[in-house]
Amino acid sequence: MTASIVASLDVVTRRYGNTVALDGVSLDIARGELVALLGPNGAGKTTAISLWLGLAHADAGRVTLLGGSPFDVAQRRGIGVMMQDVTLTHGMRVHELIEQAASYYPDPLSVADAMAMTSTAGLASKVYDKLSGGQKRQVQFALAVVGRPSVLFLDEPTVGLDVQARESLWSAIRKLRKAGCSILLTTHYLEEAEALADRVVVLARGRVVASGSVNEVRSIVSRRKIRCDSALDERELSQWPGVIKATRDEGRLTLVTADAEAVLRRLLASDERLANLEVQQAGLAEAFVELTKEAA
């Protein structure tokens, strides 16, 4: 392992009963890198995070956090975490929750700084239980950052946030990353990955199905889609270079292609009666759906 890798899964498998949650997954997070982990429910995203947080053992493979084991509390002093579906301690005020979390770290931010950074200063003396869902997420974010973590794990951080709160959280995340913090975030909001991530890793059914920059992931699968009315035989078309898939739906032909221009030229030359031509650039959202469909 190189010094610049802050967290890694090395061919890790994790089963729950008969279900394989992670199936030989390898994944590194480099220092200062923001990785977005995408995937449908049950893809293994939360399992991957649980392994890094020392909440579960890998059945096979090796899990490393800051050069050691996540089961060692000293390693976890270097991380901040925002989990899904957690109710914080009943009956405590926001500034108390932050002070309590800060006490777990060797060199934390002041409570005031953590609140300023996460736009929670206005909530300081409010009782946590009485906050809105979005405000609760902001407070959980404050708990995640108060320890000045080297690695931040954010499991669906912006669920339930309004636009303004989300923008403010994104801006805080960008600042942290700029300051050298490594961040792993899982999300269902694809624009969130596009807005923030250096690298996107797509998990489906416990396997990594794509990994790269947003642009790379987009180009890996997304290719472009050509739709048209044509009498050409789709089986023959699927043999053409550059064509990944050819399908027909009630006379309408759909080609998935990695080289749209070349395929189009040949297509137009081969069928004079071709009509209603459409070419689509797949966004990350579409790439994502494609990826996970292929894995299914």
Binding site: L53, G54, L55, L66, V73, A74, Q75, R76, R77, G78, I79, V81, M83, Q84, D85, V86, T87, L88, T89, H90, G91, M92, E96, E99, Q100, A101, S103, Y104, Y105, P106, D107, P108, L109, D113, A116, M117, L143, V145, G147, R148, P149, S150, F153, K175, L176, K178, A179, G180, C181
Partner: protein, 265 residues
């Protein structure tokens, strides 16, 4: 706004002992504070025992006490034991169970919370409540003037009952570790209610029930205080044996709870 320097990630993973200790104390402080703030917990467990003692252990029992002063001491000790059981059983078990359900124990495990701090905070909270409620009982008893215990006896009683909350904390931990948040308060009541009456805290039980007082930990805590404060007339069990039983209950239930929590969180 923040400057960049203050959000630079910390590198030191080592934490000095003083800071670790402070983390334990911070957890304990907030656990006690938030329970004090919860009216549904603080009112029945802090404010009710002393008036209850004054009513049943002083006013209603006045005749009996005037005939035999040790009866007054016995009732005072009984109500004091009852007073420390409540916050220990309910304050530990009925908070642990829902916090497990709601993912808080998982979050605390993921955060670098020092080992055991989550549970130790609950124990210290229960001991704090035990100390406060025992103090209130002592004030009520001194004002009512129906006991013959000296200052040394009072101090011993307060100390024993504060530490004596631990076996009930251990039972609470066990309930909280094995049952869901919705089941835990009911299960706790199933133990708490019979234990108050069937451990003979307030009056001698009828013959056949008398034999069964030995199954309730409250009986041993009462016997411990009775022995230490010299109320020999009501001592039915040797001091050291009572102590042994209480330590065993603590170790057994505490151990079961910790084993369970280590496995399922």
């Amino acid at each position: 706004m923040m400057n960049t320097a203050t959000i630079t990630p910390a590198v030191a993973l080592h934490m000095p002992f003083a800071r670790v200790l402070r983390a334990y104390l911070t957890d304990a402080k907030f656990e006690a504070l938030r329970m004090l703030r919860a009216p549904a917990f603080a009112i029945p467990f802090l404010l009710i025992p002393a008036p209850l003692y004054l009513l049943f252990g002083v006013v209603i029992a006045a005749d009996g006490i005037s005939k035999n002063p040790q009866v007054g001491n016995y009732l005072f000790i009984g109500f004091s034991v009852m007073a420390v059981m409540g916050p220990a059983l309910f304050g530990v078990g009925s908070t642990l169970a829902p916090e497990r359900d709601q993912g808080l124990t998982r979050l605390k495990r993921a955060q670098p919370q020092p080992a055991g701090s989550y549970l130790i905070a609950k124990l210290l909270m229960a001991m704090f409540f035990a100390l406060v409620v025992t103090g209130m009982m002592i004030i009520a008893a001194v004002l009512a003037g129906k006991i013959t215990l000296g200052a040394g006896d009072m101090a011993a009683l307060a100390a024993i009952l504060t530490v004596g909350a631990l076996p009930f904390c251990a039972i609470g931990l066990c309930i909280g570790a094995y049952f869901s948040g919705s089941a835990a308060p009911g299960i706790t009541n199933l133990i708490y209610m019979p234990m108050i009456y069937l451990s003979g805290l307030f009056f001698p039980l009828p013959g056949f029930l008398q034999k069964f007082v030995v199954i309730w930990p409250a009986f041993y805590l009462q016997q411990l205080v009775v022995a230490v404060t010299g109320n020999t007339q009501f001592q039915f069990f040797p001091l050291l044996s009572a102590l042994t039983v209480l330590v065993s209950v603590t170790v057994l239930f505490g151990g079961l709870a910790i084993r369970r929590l280590a496995r399922v969180g």
